[in-house]
């Protein structure tokens, strides 16, 4: 039989300069089925085919810098075709500004900070994801971190704003802490949590 209807599952941009769209194939009708992604930019009748089916893996289309415009809506559809016919997905409309999901923050470190006789605290530092150009002002990120005792299950979350470091006061003596950080642009989605940074608090009285 002809292929089932494919479904565009979403589009994401890690840095507001490139983006990728993914789809789920419908049934293939028991036959070899080919999938093509087509797009049309706002206020233009020209239809283009996906420029790169390979870079982002199976069932995806990658738009590099030259194929990415922001403040322009892309109307996107996927067509499934086999020997007995074809089927087209519902269209999806995206403006790259609103689909940004950054990569995770990098180089997350945590140390026990002690100054003289003051109580020690945990000093967490991180860097923005390398691909996100925060230095030019093109993208602005806010950060959130979560902390837990290694032996416990419950994370405690803290919002750090645009800062790239955060202090956690009154850590328990002799315990191991785990810290992760994630980031979000002003009009987009939270990144995944970063890899975990660990710290052991020394025994103190």
């Amino acid at each position: 039989s002809p292929p089932g209807k494919p479904k565009l599952t979403g589009c994401r941009s890690p840095e507001k300069e490139t983006f990728t769209c993914w789809w789920e194939p419908g049934s293939n009708g028991g036959l070899p089925t080919n999938y093509s992604l087509f797009y049309r930019k706002e206020n233009s009748d020209t239809v283009y085919e996906c420029p790169d089916y390979h870079t982002a893996g199976k069932n995806s289309c990658f738009f590099n810098k030259n194929d990415t415009s922001i403040w322009v809506n892309y109307n996107i559809t996927v067509v499934a075709t086999n020997a007995l016919g074809s089927n087209i997905s519902d269209p999806v409309d995206v403006d790259v500004v609103y689909i940004v999901q950054p990569h995770t923050p990098e180089n997350v470190t945590v140390v026990v900070h002690t100054v003289d006789n003051d109580d020690p605290f945990l000093l967490v530092r991180w860097e923005p994801p390398r691909k996100a150009d925060t230095r030019s002002g093109w993208i602005t990120l806010v950060y959130e971190l979560r902390v837990k005792l290694e032996k416990e299950d419950k994370w405690e979350e803290h919002f750090a704003g645009q800062q790239k470091q955060f202090n956690i006061f009154s850590p328990h003596s002799g315990e191991v802490y785990m810290v992760q950080v994630r980031c979000k642009p002003d009009h987009g989605f939270w990144s995944e949590w970063s890899s975990t940074a660990y710290v052991k608090v020394p025994d103190y009285i």
Partner: protein, 202 residues
């Protein structure tokens, strides 16, 4: 809060970086309002989201050339980027005021939305004043040339003429266009700030 005007005591202390942060915050708030209203329109007034893509829109500000993408925005001279921001803000003053009038009389719209429209309309005006202050300060500090004059007469007339055409734009299209332009303004302000005072949170 309104942005400090020149003579006010206590405002002398605001550095250029502080001024930038204030206008950027202001632009973020303004864009947030346009986002909220845009979602409300999609939720309550448009039966099928899929139809939205088929509306062929042309914004009344489309005659203002705006850099699309990071490299293009960075290539523009500081003066030119400042002018683009000011042109966009000026071009929205009258249409937003008409938009507020229009939805204030719209029975389906609650007063909450109407207040947002009013706030948005006030903000575009305040933001334009704020960016003008930033531009003055940049000129005083010799960071941009004094050649920003083009806007005063000829450009204002141009922006005024094209805003007349916006009567024909539906409220939804207008919101779509403003949501986009206010995002551009926010983004260009951030780029400008990071070029002028890169050591401040960039």
């Amino acid at each position: 809060a309104p942005i400090c005007t020149h003579g006010h005591a206590g405002c002398q202390l605001l550095s250029l970086a502080d001024l930038f942060d204030r206008v950027i915050q202001h632009s973020a708030r303004m864009h947030g309002l346009s986002n909220d209203l845009h979602s409300e329109f999609e939720q309550y007034f448009l039966p099928s989201k899929n139809q939205i893509g088929r509306i062929n829109r042309k914004c009344h500000t489309s005659n203002i050339l705006t850099p699309n993408g990071k490299e293009n925005a960075q290539r523009l001279a500081r003066e030119e980027l400042t002018e683009v921001i000011l042109k966009l803000l000026l071009a929205w003053r009258d249409p937003l005021s008409q938009f507020h009038q229009s939805i204030a009389h719209h029975e389906d719209f609650n007063s909450f939305s109407s207040n947002k429209a009013l706030e948005m309309s006030d903000m575009v005006h305040e933001l334009k004043n704020g960016v003008e202050k930033v531009a003055e300060k940049m000129q005083l500090l010799g960071m941009i040339s004094n050649s920003l004059g083009g806007l005063s007469s000829a450009e204002a007339l141009l922006a005024g003429t094209s805003s007349g055409e916006s009567h024909a734009m539906s409220d939804y299209e207008l919101l779509h266009c403003f949501r986009r332009d206010s995002n551009k303004v926010q983004n260009y302000l951030k780029i400008l700030k990071c070029r002028i005072v890169p050591e401040h949170g960039c």
